[in-house]
C-alpha cells in the first residue's frame, strides 16, 4: 500500500498540488485521472521521489519514504518499477540490455541468468525477437512493452505508470491496459496509473482519483464514475460522443 498525505507542491509561486491525500491499495490498479496540466504527473513524481514537495508525507507500506535520505530510499526504490510516458528506454542499449540493466546494477546474477530473466520478462509482455533491437527500431507500443518488461525485471512491489497509453492506437492501448492488470494480479503489487484515457478508466480503474486544479476532487471506482454528480468530473468523463452514449439516464 502507498499513501500520500496532504501533499502540497509549488513551482515558484504557483501551487500545483494542494493538500492531496491518496491511498493506493495492494493488488489493485489505482488510477489518477484528470485533464492535462492538473497535476497528475507531478503527484506521481512526488510519490516516487523525483520531485521534492513543500508539505506532506509519502508512505510505502508504512515506511516513511519522503523523509528518507537518498541512501535509505535506495532499498525502497529497488522495489519500484516505473513505466514512463515515452518509455524512457536507454537509447544506447538494445531491448534485452535495457531489461537486463536493473539486474546488472542490483543483483549478482550471472550473464546467462540475467539473459534468461530478460527473455522471460520480454515474453511476459508478449515480445519476441526484439532482443537485439535498439529503441529507435521499436514501435511506440513495443517501447512501452519493453519498458514494462524492464519495470518488472526485479519483481517490484510497486508499479507506477505515467500515461501508458499515450500515442498508441486503441488496440495497442488496450493490450497495455490488459498487461498492467494481469501483472498487478499476478505479482500482487500496488499499481498506480496516471491517465486521461476513459477507456483505461473503465478497463482497469479499480480505484480512481480525479485531480482537478491541483486538488483531489473525487475518488471512487470505474463502476460509480459513470454515476457521478460532480460537475467537473462529469465534464471530464462525458466529453466524447462514445462516453456520452454510456451515460446512464
Amino acid at each position: 500500500m502507498i499513501e500520500g498525505i496532504n501533499i502540497t507542491k509549488r513551482f515558484g509561486d504557483r501551487i500545483v498540488l494542494e493538500n492531496v491525500t491518496v491511498r493506493f491499495d495492494k493488488g489493485k490498479t489505482n488510477l489518477i485521472i484528470g485533464q492535462s496540466g492538473m497535476g497528475k504527473t507531478v503527484l506521481l513524481k512526488c510519490l516516487v521521489g523525483l520531485f521534492d514537495f513543500e508539505q506532506g508525507e509519502v508512505f510505502y507500506d508504512n515506511r516513511l519514504f519522503s523523509k528518507m535520505s537518498f541512501t535509505e530510499k535506495k532499498s525502497i526504490r529497488k522495489e519500484i518499477g516505473m513505466l514512463f510516458q515515452g518509455g524512457a528506454l536507454f537509447d544506447s542499449m538494445t531491448a534485452e540490455q535495457n531489461v537486463m540493466f536493473p539486474l546488472t546494477m542490483f543483483t549478482t546474477m550471472l550473464p546467462d541468468e540475467k539473459r534468461d530473466r530478460a527473455n522471460f520478462c520480454l515474453s511476459r509482455v508478449n515480445l519476441e525477437n526484439v532482443n537485439d533491437m535498439l529503441p529507435s527500431e521499436l514501435s511506440g507500443g513495443m517501447k512501452k512493452r519493453v519498458a514494462i518488461a524492464r519495470a518488472i525485471a526485479l519483481n517490484p512491489q510497486y508499479l507506477f505508470c505515467d500515461e501508458p497509453n499515450s500515442g498508441l492506437d486503441p488496440q495497442t492501448a488496450n493490450l497495455i491496459d490488459e498487461l498492467i492488470k494481469e501483472i498487478t494480479l499476478e505479482y500482487d503489487i500496488t499499481t498506480v496509473v496516471v491517465t486521461h484515457d476513459m477507456n483505461s478508466v473503465l478497463e482497469i480503474g479499480q480505484k480512481v482519483y480525479f485531480i482537478y486544479k491541483g486538488k483531489l476532487w473525487w475518488e471512487g471506482d470505474r463502476d460509480n464514475i459513470l454515476h457521478t454528480v460532480n460537475p467537473e468530473l462529469k465534464a471530464f468523463v462525458f466529453n466524447s460522443e462514445l462516453t456520452r452514449r454510456l451515460k446512464p439516464v
Binding site: K45, V48, G49, L50, F70, K73, K74, S75, R77, K78, I80, M82, F84, Q85, G86, A88, L89, F90, D91, P102, T104, M105, F106, F160
Partner: protein
C-alpha cells in the same frame, strides 16, 4: 547572482558525481566506452588539425624571421615551443571542447528530456555519478594522449611544410626542435590538458544534466556547454600559466 546560482549548482552536481560509485564493474565498462567515444573518435580531427597547424606555424615563422642574425633553426625551435606550450594543449582542447562538449551536453540533455535520467533515479541509481563520472575520468585519461599525438604531428607537419617549400633544411629544422628542450614544458602542457579535460566534460555535462524542455532546449544546452567551457578553458589557461610558468 545568476552566476553564483549556476556555480553553486555546478559544485553540487560535482559532489553528486564524486560520490561512491554503486557498482564498479559497470563504471569500468562505461569508462572504456567513453575512452572510445571521447578519445579514439576524436583522434582523426586532432591529427588533421595538428598537421596543418604545424605546417602553417612553420611557414609563418620562416616569413617573420628575415634577419640574417637569427639562425634558421629558430624556425624549428619556435614551432616546437608554440605547439608544445600553447597550440596543442589549448587550441586542441578548444576544438575538443566543440566536438566532445557538444556531444556530452546533447547526449545527457536528451536523456533528461526523454526521462531516461528520471528512470535511473527511480531505480535508485545516482544518475549524475553514473552518467558523468566515467566521462570525466575517461577524458582526463585520454586527452593527454591526444595532445601528445598532436604535439608530434604538429612538429612533423612543420617539418614537412618547411622542407618541401625549401624554407629550411631538414637538418636545420630537426636541430631547432631539439634545441633548448625542457621536459617541464611537456608536463606543463599535460597538466593544462588534464584540467581542460575536466572543465570540458564537467561544464558540458552540467548544461546537459539540467536541461528542461525539448529538442530546442537540448540544442541550447549543447551551445551553452561549448561556450561556457571554452570561456572556462581560457580563464584556466591564464591562471595555470601564471602558476606553472611564472
Amino acid at each position: 547572482m545568476k552566476i553564483l546560482y549556476h556555480f553553486g549548482r555546478y559544485l553540487n552536481l560535482l559532489l553528486k558525481v564524486f560520490k561512491q560509485p554503486e557498482k564498479r564493474a559497470v563504471y569500468r565498462r562505461q569508462f572504456m566506452i567513453e575512452i572510445d567515444n571521447l578519445g579514439y573518435a576524436s583522434a582523426g580531427i586532432v591529427a588533421i588539425i595538428s598537421v596543418f597547424m604545424g605546417a602553417v606555424l612553420t611557414i609563418q615563422m620562416a616569413f617573420n624571421i628575415d634577419s640574417p642574425l637569427v639562425p634558421l633553426y629558430t624556425i624549428g625551435f619556435a614551432t616546437r615551443q608554440s605547439i608544445v606550450l600553447e597550440f596543442a594543449p589549448t587550441i586542441i582542447s578548444l576544438i575538443l571542447c566543440g566536438k566532445v562538449g557538444s556531444r556530452i551536453a546533447s547526449e545527457i540533455g536528451t536523456m533528461r528530456v526523454t526521462e531516461q535520467i528520471d528512470a535511473l533515479e527511480v531505480m535508485g541509481i545516482n544518475s549524475a555519478s553514473f552518467l558523468i563520472l566515467p566521462k570525466i575520468m575517461a577524458a582526463m585519461f585520454v586527452f593527454p594522449f591526444l595532445i601528445m599525438m598532436s604535439m608530434v604531428l604538429g612538429v612533423a607537419g612543420g617539418w614537412f611544410a618547411g622542407t618541401t617549400t625549401g624554407l629550411i633544411s631538414s637538418y636545420g629544422y630537426v636541430y631547432g626542435i631539439q634545441s633548448f628542450f625542457h621536459m617541464y614544458d611537456i608536463w606543463y602542457a599535460l597538466t593544462k590538458t588534464v584540467v581542460f579535460a575536466f572543465i570540458i566534460t564537467s561544464v558540458s555535462a552540467y548544461h546537459g544534466y539540467y536541461t528542461k524542455g525539448g529538442a530546442l532546449e537540448v540544442g541550447n544546452a549543447s551551445t551553452s556547454g561549448v561556450v561556457y567551457s571554452s570561456i572556462a578553458i581560457i580563464f584556466a589557461n591564464l591562471i595555470l600559466t601564471q602558476l606553472l610558468l611564472a
